[in-house]
Amino acid sequence: MFEPIDANQIQLNSQGQLKHFLTTEGLSRELLTEILDTADSFLDVGERQVKKLPLLRGTTVANLFFENSTRTLSTFELAAKRLSADVLNLNISTSSTTKGESLRDTLMTLHAMHADMFVVRHSDSGAAHYIAQHVTPDVAVINAGDGRHAHPTQAMLDMLTIRRHKGDFSKLTCAIVGDILHSRVARSQIHALRTLGVAEVRVIGPQTLLPRHIEALGVMVYTDMNEGLKDVDVVMMLRLQKERMNSALLPSESEFYKLYGLTEEKLAIAKPDAVVLHPGPINRGVEIESSVADGPRSLILDQVTNGLAVRMAVMSMAVSGQMQEKQNNGENA
């Protein structure tokens, strides 16, 4: 496994600007807000006839997906293309070779192709950090999900969606529901929500799917939906990570749905104007009832649109942070 490290030493340049985007943990409210503001301005571009901007023209973005994810890969690809970057998609299976060795080989190959940014998806926690520490200087690394650790762009697109629909974070109660234990999304969401000053963050799930000492992150813990959803403004559902679960943690999918699935009935417990988020892909009838997912309070499709803008924002900010670091080093040298 990878060594734990202080992410901000890696992901920020000497002026405190983003040069990699690895985790929402430890980032300031100011910086998270800057990401949201930048993403907001990119949203407008999606409405135009010509949706391309020249910001990353001449830049090569390599999507390194060691773990399959069509959805995340395609939004990163589209985000890079909207910024006029050249995009390389690499699906790399981890099972065939020993990890450390193959990773290093891959990095060296991409270095030889003069890639400027790696978007990394990996089933091991800390993989993006490891790559950020071992890439050549000036290459920006964006974490597109690493093991159980973090999925920062997903969390930030959720924050953007919440801000656009609810405005002020400080008045909100947000509940994250489902398989918290295996969820990198939940971890990144909790850090972002806390930093942005949400009044109350709750996690709701069965005891077996709640990490021990989760309270230490500053959240209220509930095992009962009827209690946990009371007075909630934002319901953030998680996907049941079937592929990550050994059966002992969960009696059955139908049992899970009965207790923790978001039905119309359960949603009625939350505030009347509560909104529903889900990172997708949805397991209909496992975590969420179809009529809720497709209903007027669901923001699931807004999340997809906002995800594109957030990815454009962190990509351009990271490239800009790298370039400024390079200039500073040049001046000091």
């Binding site: 600007q17 807000t33 800057e34 990401i35 503001d37 930048t38 301005s41 407008d44 571009v45 135009r48 006839q49 010509v50 391309k52 901007l53 020249p54 910001l55 351009s316 900010m317 490239v319 800009s320 942070g321 370039m323 400024q324 200039q327």
Partner: protein, 169 residues
């Protein structure tokens, strides 16, 4: 240029008259005026009113089209470009406060063309600092100004509009 010539109101009156002449000389009908944030928008609002143009004013933020973003970074508060209508086939009057290197106008032209193919683009600026790095010229200019290497000029507004020359820090 004397300090008296930095009277923005007087410059605006002159520009308005010249612009009116330009429009009739080029036989432009229903032009689309676009101001570049922030100073260009203030000026465009005044000119748009003085000329009584029909089409509503467009507003452009060229930050995403700058050629120096990797050096100066992104301004997170980029405000959206808002054009009231299609630019396709339109005669565009592009308004900015100051033209110096020409790079802002280059970026604005690129952005305009992402919205469609205009019939023509005319450039109107309050001041020309004459330090061009690109082959771009204004059609209507309020005044020219030769600044010392350590001087800069800034338009403040929107009410009242005034020009300030200061030492670069």
């Amino acid at each position: 240029m004397t300090s008296g010539m930095l009277n923005v109101e007087a410059l605006l009156d002159k520009m308005s008259a010249e612009l009116k002449a330009l429009i009739s000389q080029r036989q432009i009908e229903d032009p689309l005026m676009i101001g570049i944030r922030t100073g260009g928008v203030w000026l465009a609002e005044r000119l748009h009113h003085q000329l009584g143009l029909q089409s509503p004013l467009g507003v452009m933020d060229i930050t995403f089209y700058r050629d120096d973003f990797t050096q100066v970074g992104l301004n997170p508060r980029v405000q959206p470009t808002k054009l009231p209508c299609d630019t396709e086939g339109r005669h565009i009057l592009l308004v900015d406060d100051v033209i110096m290197s020409g790079r802002t106008i280059r970026a604005a032209l690129n952005e305009i063309f992402d919205y469609g193919r205009p019939a023509s683009v005319s450039l109107i600026t309050l001041l020309d600092l004459q330090r061009r790095q690109l082959p771009i010229q204004a059609d209507v200019v309020g005044g020219t100004l030769a600044l010392g290497p350590d001087q800069q000029v800034k338009l403040t507004g929107p009410e009242p509009l005034s020009l300030e020359i200061s030492q670069r820090t």
